[in-house]
């Protein structure tokens, strides 16, 4: 609350600095603004930035890291009676002291005697520290704001290059934004690597990458029967790629053909109806596709295969018939087909944009040679659009590999190493979901294996992207 108030105050101060800076610039110009190097607004912005930005940054840092500083200061001295406690209990002690100081409900632990006395001392100390940190942050940002303004204001003269300075600030802001994006990604990757490293300390990477049995059950207690878990990720990746292949077998041709129809053959009214419809379809949440797969497509496919099997039983294909009779609702085919349907609008919309971007002059050139529409599409338009279409397909592949809801509902949970599309398979994403939902211990290999899976998936998709980029570069047919 106090932080918000002080931010508001800072904004007002900064606004005042803007007005003052602008007025000073106009005044120095002596009623002829053209002698100024920059527009008066830039002078105002320069003063406002120096008055506002450093102080705001300090306030932000204060709110983000103030708590940690307080903790560290509070815990710097641990009374002997506290030190005699377990490490876990010590943490509870200090967090309770903080909580009481801030008027929040503490834990249910009761403190008595010496410990109670120590707690009271620490509560008082916590209050003192909190005030100290808070007011030193506030005071310091006040000083920063004022000195920033006092530093900037006298520099404002007619030939001061205010525009260049302000643009420098803006450039810095833009750079900081892009660095933030890169750093966040880097942080995610590093945390993935770190947690995976912890996982690979208990499970050998060779067993993980090449093991063919996935059964992540670890005994919670020493006397439990559930024995050793098995962490062979091969069945999961096999399932992931089987479903991805089925999905792409549906999405790639249908999406591409519909894009060709839309961009080359459809007339304007048809296009103006179909294109927005496809884009709406691309916005359907995947969970909807998921229950569509589980409740509609799954039973439909099962009924179809069972009926087909019934006609074969007793004939020369008796074995196949018997198998088809036993097909269940959950199978790779259902998940793959529904995922493919989900990807159609995605592929089609992207490819349509790419095909439309092929310059009309190339089509004209081809028509002027006496090429038919189909020849023009096959031999000029599609080759020109190929790199873009490849990129669209790859985006679709990475969506298929990362897709979770549909496979969770329609593919099954059993990790089987199979290429049979009628069998249940499970995918990397499904396993990550099941590993991390519900109450979990965050130190067991079972939970940590999610990071191992995540890292491997990341490496695999990265590799796919690199290979695809190479292909695109090799077959690139450039146009300007």
């Amino acid at each position: 609350m106090l932080t918000w108030l002080s931010l508001l105050f800072l904004a007002l101060f900064s606004g005042a600095a803007f007005m003052l800076g602008k007025r000073r610039a106009v005044k120095t110009a002596g009623g002829a603004p053209r002698v100024l190097h920059s527009l008066p607004g830039y002078y105002g912005s320069y003063a406002a930035l120096w008055a506002g930005a450093p102080a705001a940054l300090l306030l932000l840092l204060g709110t983000t890291f103030g708590g940690r500083v307080e903790d560290a200061m509070l815990q710097a001295q641990r009374p002997a009676v506290v030190q005699s406690l377990d490490v876990d209990r010590q943490d509870v002690f200090f967090s309770d002291a903080q909580a009481i100081a801030q008027g929040i409900a503490p834990s249910e632990v009761t403190y008595e005697g010496e410990l109670k006395a120590a707690l009271d001392v620490k509560v008082a100390e916590a209050r003192r520290i909190e005030n100290l940190v808070r007011f030193s942050v506030l005071g310091l940002s006040g000083v920063l704001a004022l000195s920033g303004f006092l530093l900037a204001f006298p520099r404002l003269s007619a030939d001061f290059r205010a525009r260049n300075r302000v643009e420098g600030w803006v450039g810095g802001l833009l750079m900081a934004s892009s660095i933030a994006a890169v750093l966040t990604t880097l942080g995610i990757v590093l945390s993935l690597v770190w947690e995976s490293w912890r996982f690979f300390q208990s499970i050998s990477p060779i067993d993980f990458l090449f093991g063919t049995v996935w059964n992540p059950q670890i005994a919670m207690r020493a006397d439990q029967v559930a024995a050793e878990g098995a962490f062979g990720a091969v069945p999961l990746f096999a399932g992931t790629f089987l479903i991805m292949l089925i999905a792409m077998a549906v999405a790639a041709p249908v999406g591409l053909y519909s894009a060709i129809y839309l961009s080359e053959y459809a007339n304007r009214p048809v296009r103006s109806v179909i294109k927005p419809l496809l884009e709406v379809l691309a916005g359907v949440p995947t969970v909807v596709y998921g229950f569509f797969a589980a409740l509609t497509v799954g039973p439909l496919f099962r009924a179809g295969f069972n009926a087909l099997g019934a006609t074969m039983v007793g004939g020369p294909l008796d074995g196949v018939g018997q198998y088809l009779m036993e097909v269940q609702n959950q199978m790779a085919l259902v998940a793959g087909v529904v995922m493919g349907i989900m990807l159609i609008p995605f592929v089609s919309s992207l490819s349509d944009d790419i095909i439309n971007a092929v310059p009309q002059s190339l089509r004209d050139g081809s028509y002027a040679m006496g090429a038919t529409k189909s020849e023009t599409v096959k031999k000029v338009v599609l080759p020109a659009a190929l790199p873009g279409i490849m990129a669209a397909m790859l985006l679709a592949v990475s969506r298929a590999v990362g897709e979770t809801m549909i496979v969770t509902m329609a593919a099954g949970l059993q990790a089987k190493l199979t290429v049979n599309p009628l069998d249940t398979v499970t995918t990397v994403t499904v396993q990550i979901v099941t590993l991390l939902t519900g109450d979990q211990e965050f130190d067991s290999p079972k939970t940590l294996s999610a990071f191992g899976l995540g890292l491997t998936l990341f490496v695999v998709t990265l590799g796919l992207n690199i290979i695809a980029l190479r292909i695109v570069q090799k077959y690139r047919e450039q146009y300007d």
Binding site: N267, R268, P359, S361, L362, R363, D364, G365, S366, Y367, A368, M369, G370, A371, T372, E375, K379, V380, P383, A384, E477, Q478, Y479, D480
Partner: protein, 295 residues
């Protein structure tokens, strides 16, 4: 009489009307590029007949009753200010206006006596007889070889690889590009310079063996040196093809063409031998345009 400085080279080339003493300083390459212009045009049969051609884009009429005869084996230039309909008329000749859904063409355009707009005419076959070169070089994003081989392939003109290679080579030679690209036929056509790209596109059009080549401002995106090369090329090709060129440059029309047609506001104002047009225009609008008073 010397109405237009642009017309000088032509006038000088034939010394028929006026030849002031300082004419000899005019660009010599142009003189070489336009020999015996008028004589060539006069001995030619009419290749394309246009009668009462009207073109509409939706409700807007773009061309009004155009009547013109275009001789074979010579260069005919269409000149006129922007939006005057010269490109529109050009695109009627190979029915490129078909690709614009709202375009409607009436009247008769016949090539060697057969109407291009007749129901029985397949635009695909028509366009293999009437090639076209566009304003901006538009080589396909393929190799130089594949660009030239494109037409022969889709029309099945070559029965084997050797024959295809022969067609590509002779087309590139006719387009004056062979010596520059012979050692890099399998590199992308888009890697060539603008002028080379335009000659590649001309080679691509020639490879199909057309009778007529339409050129829609073929030099407007090129620098003066590349332009001069294309103009020389047009002059060489005139012996084998009926060439129709749309140009904004009156100097270019004067240099390369034997017949000129002046379009204004969708109407064909005047057409005749290039020489007459530039030295002795009948219509005041033509005179105003070629003397640079508007346009």
């Amino acid at each position: 009489m010397n109405l237009n400085p642009f017309a000088l080279p032509l006038v000088q080339g034939h010394a028929m009307t006026t030849a002031s003493p300082d004419d000899s300083v005019a660009a010599p390459s142009i003189q070489a590029a336009a020999p015996q212009v008028y004589a060539a045009a006069s001995t030619n049969e009419i290749k394309i007949h246009a009668k009462d051609v009207n073109v509409f884009y939706g409700d807007k009429q773009a061309l009004f009753d155009v009547n013109i005869d275009i001789p074979g084996k010579s260069v005919t230039a269409f000149i006129g200010p922007s939006g005057c309909g010269k490109s529109t008329f050009l695109r009627c000749i190979n029915r490129m206006n078909d690709t614009i859904p709202t375009a409607k063409v009436t009247g008769v355009i016949d090539i060697d006596g057969s109407d291009v707009n007749a129901k029985s005419v397949d635009p695909v076959i028509l366009r293999s007889r009437v090639g076209m070169v566009f304003q901006k070089p538009n080589p396909f994003p393929k190799t130089i070889f594949e660009n030239v081989a494109y037409g022969p392939r889709i029309h099945g003109l070559a029965t084997g690889k050797a024959e295809l290679e022969a067609i590509v080579e002779s087309s590139l030679k006719k387009a004056g590009l062979w010596n520059e690209v012979a050692d890099r036929l399998h590199q992308p056509g888009t890697g060539l310079s603008g002028g080379q790209q335009q000659r590649l596109v001309i080679a691509r059009a020639i490879a199909v063996g057309p009778e007529v080549i339409l050129m829609d401002e073929p030099c407007s995106a090129l620098d003066p040196i590349a332009t001069a090369r294309i103009e020389e090329l047009i002059d060489e090709l005139r012996n084998q093809f009926c060439i129709v060129i749309v140009t904004h440059s009156m100097a270019q029309a004067a240099r390369v063409s034997q017949k000129t047609a002046f379009f204004h506001l969708g109407k064909l104002v005047e057409s005749g031998s290039t020489e007459d047009m530039f030295t002795n225009p009948r219509d005041t609008r033509t005179q105003d345009y070629i003397t640079g008073r508007f346009g």
